[in-house]
């Protein structure tokens, strides 16, 4: 398997078509998308609701497979991997931030952030604690490590989610409308935090949004409409 080095494309998508089959109706969600993302990018995918943002992020996130076309993540062709290999790729290479935070409600803030490290089984208890504490301090939650998610505000929860996504030092963090459930001030703080992490940890961030203000923080922007890229770096299959 080819491995990407610094500055090269960490995500490479070619002619991807994704169709959903609802009973006998075929719903086209992505209609020939090509796209490459450089390592270290802070990329925003924008577009109206139903334009295919979530679908595209799911393909990059290896939780779904394209109907046709190729998706290369860190050099791995996702079509050629089985469920277990995809799972391990998600664990080690990808981080996820969800619109509705999706923390494990019965675990504390600390335990939520530590969880991916436990799945990796690579670190000792001390190493894990060090990494988790360090990250929780960076996201400003070092005073809340023993709280349950339900005891936190939306903004705080999304900070926990960011820490969880970053704890394994993934190459790519995917965030599907991370600010949609937050008020605009909190939302902007979250994007600032993500950007800070992008700068400090050199992690590639790909996030979707339909908020112009949020979008303005991105290094590069891709516009989706009706399952096609209309503007941005991969816009070959675009407008005309």
């Amino acid at each position: 398997m080819p491995k990407n080095t610094e500055g090269q494309d960490i995500v490479s998508i070619q002619n991807v078509i994704k169709e959903y089959h609802l009973d006998k109706v075929v719903v086209p969600a992505l209609r020939g998308v090509s796209l490459s993302v450089e390592a270290g990018d802070f990329l925003s995918i924008v577009g109206p609701s139903g334009s295919g943002k979530t679908t595209l992020l799911n393909l990059i996130g290896c939780v779904d497979v394209a109907t046709s076309g190729t998706v290369l993540i860190d050099g791995h062709d996702t079509k050629s991997l089985n469920d277990r290999q995809l799972t391990d790729l998600r664990l080690n290479t990808l981080g996820f931030i969800f619109q509705s935070f999706n923390l494990v409600p019965v675990l504390s803030v600390f335990q939520n952030v530590e969880f991916p490290l436990l799945l990796q089984r690579k670190f000792t208890k001390e190493e894990r604690a060090k990494r988790v504490d360090e990250l929780l301090e960076k996201v400003g939650l070092d005073k809340h490590t023993q709280h349950r998610p339900s005891e936190l505000s939306g903004g705080q929860r999304q900070r926990v989610a960011i820490a969880r996504a970053l704890v394994t030092r993934p190459k790519i963090v995917l965030a599907d409308e991370p600010t949609a459930n937050l008020d605009s001030v909190t939302g902007e703080n979250i994007i600032d935090l993500m950007k800070e992490m992008n700068r400090v940890e050199k992690t590639t961030f790909i996030f979707s949004t339909h908020d112009a203000k949020v979008m303005s923080h991105a290094n590069s922007v891709i516009r989706l409409a009706d399952g096609k890229i209309t503007d941005g770096k991969g816009a070959k299959a675009g407008a005309h």
């Binding site: 799911n58 799972t87 998600r90 509705s100």
Partner: protein, 433 residues
């Protein structure tokens, strides 16, 4: 793994009512199983106790003696010789003792009843004083001819107490009524069914009543140091007796008295011996143990099926409620089998906690009822072999029951858990509700 445990446990706690309901049901079944188990063990102990000391020994050599082909008497002639063979043959012998066997009418001023008689020689009965608990009178006097030891229930029926006189009456072969006057030297505490129709009489007095001679007895009772060797010892002794020239009836696990009718139909005359173990002798009531065990098995199975449905349902609900969580965990890199383990552990924890609570409750209930000495209705006494309900805790059995129920809970949870693990992460994450 410990984190999966924590998630499972905390989810159980956070759905307190649902868990309590299911856990309560599991505890209930365990309670029932443990309770019936204690009853079964208790009855078994009582049977053993009363059978061993009152009637059968660990094993015994009985005899059928036929003067004419159609009529046998429960006699072992020249029993001293039989005792010698036993002493030579059985390596783990504790002691042997001869017991006369008789059947007579016991008559008081006010009432009468048919009783079985055990003729004893107190000089050779080291265990009897340890087991019989006297309410009145004393046991030593049973060494003297003309005394009789009866049990509480008989004293009540005959309306007599220690010191009162009774008359034994038997119809002899020649059709004459033979009677012997005796004095009640003691009244012993009831010890189960066998003591409702058995009394103890000095061998000498029994001989006088039955007009048999001293060299003859009813059976030679054998007490062993190690009861586990009984089946081997029975075979050993059969061979030894046959080798010494005795006729020994075929081995069958029936009580001595049950075989008497069969023996009467056979053509031969003279002496035949039989070697039986204590459980042969009470085989006609040991089915009650099987009945209790069968009943608890049946009840437990039925209830377990109901609980299994409950567990499945509750897990289906949990999985639907937590679909998005499953999707999230799968997305961030949790492998399928761990998702499965996460839910199976929930059922497992519920099983362990529920059965533990049930075991404690069931044991407690059994101990309390045991202490209450509940009387058994007369009609059922025959089956329980005791006059009060007795419960005994059998740790191996309780732990076994807990393990089985927990195992069932865990196994049944595999089905929904497997489905949960098979869910596609993408559908799970986008699940609403």
């Amino acid at each position: 793994m410990s984190q999966l445990f924590l998630i499972a446990f905390r989810n159980l706690v956070s759905h307190g009512r649902r868990s309590l309901f299911l856990g309560g049901a599991i505890a209930g079944v365990t309670t029932l199983l443990v309770f019936l188990g204690c009853l079964s063990s208790g009855v078994k102990q009582t049977m053993l106790e009363s059978a061993l000391t009152v009637a059968t020994g660990d094993m015994n050599v009985g005899g059928y003696y036929k003067v004419t082909a159609g009529q046998s008497a429960p006699l072992v002639t020249d029993y001293k010789k039989v005792q010698e063979i036993i002493q030579k043959t059985l390596p783990d012998l504790d002691f042997v003792t001869a017991r006369g066997r008789g059947w007579a009418r016991l008559v008081s001023d006010q009432a009468s009843m048919q009783v079985g008689i055990a003729g004893v020689d107190m000089a050779h009965e080291p265990r009897l004083p340890q087991v019989l608990k006297l309410k009145e009178g004393n046991l030593q006097d049973l060494a003297k001819p003309g005394n009789v030891l009866i049990f509480e229930n008989q004293a009540k029926k005959l309306k007599v107490k220690a010191g009162d006189s009774l008359v034994f009456s038997v119809l002899t072969d020649r059709g004459v009524n033979n009677t012997v006057d005796v004095k009640v030297c003691g009244v012993a505490e009831d010890m189960g069914l066998l003591t409702t129709f058995n009394v103890f009489l000095p061998q000498e007095t029994l001989n006088k009543l039955d007009q048999t001679n001293e060299s003859t007895t009813g059976a030679v009772l054998i007490y062993l140091k190690n009861r586990r060797r009984i089946p081997q010892d029975v075979d050993l002794l059969r061979k030894a007796l046959t080798g010494a020239g005795y006729n020994v009836v075929d081995r069958s696990s029936k009580a001595f008295w049950m075989k008497m009718q069969e023996v009467n139909k056979e053509e031969w005359t003279g002496q035949k011996l039989d070697v039986t173990s204590w459980d042969d002798e009470i085989s006609y009531v040991t089915w009650t143990l099987s009945a209790i065990d069968g009943l608890s098995f049946l009840l437990t199975t039925v209830l377990l099926v109901i609980i299994a449905v409950g567990i499945m349902n509750s897990l289906w609900i949990a999985i639907r409620e937590r679909t998005r969580e499953i999707g999230t965990l799968r997305a961030i890199g949790m492998r399928r089998w761990r998702v499965m383990v996460m839910f199976v552990l929930e059922a497992f924890c519920l099983g362990v906690l529920g059965t533990a609570a049930g075991a404690v409750l069931g044991s407690f209930l059994a101990l309390i009822l045991n202490a209450m000495h509940l009387p058994v209705p007369a009609g059922i006494q025959f089956f329980t072999m005791s006059t009060t309900l007795k419960f005994a805790l059998d740790p191996a059995r309780i732990l076994g029951g807990m393990a089985i129920i927990t195992f069932c809970c865990t196994v049944i949870s595999l089905i929904p858990s497997f489905k949960a693990a098979r869910m596609r992460p993408v559908t799970a994450i986008s699940h609403v509700g």
